[in-house]
Subunit: 325 residues, 2 copies
């Protein structure tokens, strides 16, 4: 199992990406190829004893660049080189914490879409008190047509079953109400198509509150909505922690708990909420294994995402998707 | 100041609605007209000494009904009768915690839209550590065109200035990235229109996380997105509280704090997060004062929403909107 890791992508690249790779090769049965500026990578880890190699790539696609244009122009950028290694069967999967748009564009242009898939979708596993809810699309495709939502439903269901090991996963459509007449044109049309689909366990509409509660195994939505919701959740979780610290400081609770217990409580809580703790998100629908990580990923998150990539490849889910569509 | 309150609307109607009205008339300089089934309302409060009267209406629009059809057919439903009282200048404002769709449909069909407004928008004030962020539309119009977003921006800015008393409020467009090239077709087109608008303080794109952080005074979005985000936040806040209780119970923190301190901490935190604590949300864009409350509103939330209705009417903001558009 070989994973091509974009060493230059992410807010904390390359240092945390490299550290994450070092953790991962000791934890999972895999090799990592770090793709990026050799000068910045060489000498930062134990090259002799770890199954990690370096593939030089002297360009980087920055956050502000137009994804597809940048992928076409910067042929020697870390994400393009890493994605090509999957296309050329040098690696089994590619992982990036850099520009999501660039990673998606590289995957679409180089790996191509699976036949029958109109648009790929990022499937983000969200930790809930009941387990995991897979939310897709969380940002690959921001102008979805109803048929794209159906394809997301099928791919998400297969991923939940074969990778997350959930039997007969329930799939719901994110909407503004439970009734099938609710929603915008996109949702109403998608509902009718989903209702008649026999290949998935369609459970009707999900409302926003059903996601954190973990009511459904898979929730499908347009990438614009999914992206806004995920980032809103990120901000809200941090705001709640902040307000709670203020309350406990003001009412003397922080003193009673003591610093160490307070810190460990927050740390554990954050761990249970943090999407990055749960590793990367697969880009479903492209013809190759591609995993996307949060831009703020640290070594632990990268290590976890490499684990996700291994499970993803081992599931051979692309064959299931190809067979179903 | 007379407020027509839909006594039959909401999960806890009519009991909590009536109690909320009783609280409100003692707190705010207003009269309340409770609209609904007289048999269920009469005798439940001190009619002699409180400025509350009853207007009988023998029908109720239920949650599952098609809003516009129901408003057209059920002429004697509580929400239709209450809205007509505003149209006929018998009351200054109408408030409902019933079906949001029905309240919006009644307002559109009976009060009509302000000239120049394509679609009304629900403006929900969200408590943040920095104050309040007004999110609109949170569910009135789920298939917005870019010009509807612009109109929401103008109305939201006026509401923030004249009712929330924020000077030169910043207005941002909810999107998936900061750059103006980001987003779906709707957002990209809206950005260009907003950029050239001189009547508001347009501050660019907001990302999901900027809402709970309180980065902007007004955030505009399509009603589908706004509704999903609000409900997601509701569910996430409750999930976090639940996980936190679990953590503190497991690590002994709950015992150290003691039940009373723990309860008061959560209560205060919830108060600072709870949208309903901040009262109702105005339906902007219709030609009359209409306030919408959460379906789960209790007496305190209804009381607070009546206070919002009073401020809203006192601001004379409809004149400002009419003058600006």
């Amino acid at each position: 199992m070989k994973i091509a890791v974009d060493a230059m992508g992410g807010d904390k690249a390359p240092a945390e990406i490299i550290k994450g790779a070092v953790l991962a090769v000791q934890k999972y049965p895999c090799e990592v190829i770090l793709v990026g500026d050799e000068k910045k990578i060489r000498g930062t880890f134990d090259e002799k004893n770890l199954p990690i190699t370096i593939r030089h790539a002297d360009e980087v696609i920055e956050m502000g660049e137009h994804p597809a244009d940048a992928v076409r122009c910067k042929k020697n950028s870390s994400i393009v080189v890493a994605t090509k290694m999957v296309k050329d069967s040098e690696c089994d999967a590619v992982l990036s914490a850099g520009s999501t748009g660039a990673a998606v564009a590289a995957a679409q242009l180089i790996l191509r879409r699976i036949h029958g898939i109109g648009r790929p979708a990022i499937a983000t596993p969200i930790p809930t008190p009941r387990g995991t809810t897979l939310l897709l699309d969380s940002g690959a495709n921001v102008d979805s047509r109803p048929e794209h939502l159906i394809q997301s439903g099928i791919m998400g269901s297969l991923y939940a079953e074969h990778v997350l090991k959930i039997k007969n996963p329930s799939v719901a459509l994110l909407n503004i109400g439970e009734e099938e007449t609710k929603g915008n044109e996109q949702a109403k049309e998608a509902y009718q198509l989903l209702k008649n689909l026999t290949t998935i366990n369609f459970a009707g509409n999900a409302e926003g509150r059903d996601i954190p509660r973990g009511v459904f195994d898979v929730v499908i939505c347009d990438g614009f909505v999914g992206n806004v919701v995920l980032k809103f959740g990120e901000g809200l979780a941090l705001t709640i922690m902040k307000l709670l610290t203020e309350e406990l400081t003001a009412n003397g609770g922080a003193e009673l708990l003591g610093k160490s217990l307070l810190d460990s409580t927050f740390k554990n809580l954050y761990k249970r909420l943090d999407v990055s703790e749960n590793g990367g998100a697969p880009l479903l629908g492209v013809d190759g294994y591609c995993v996307i990580s949060h831009g703020s990923s640290d070594a632990r998150a990268i290590c976890s995402a490499i684990g996700v990539a291994c499970d993803y490849v081992n599931s051979k889910i692309l064959e299931h998707i190809r067979a179903t569509l």
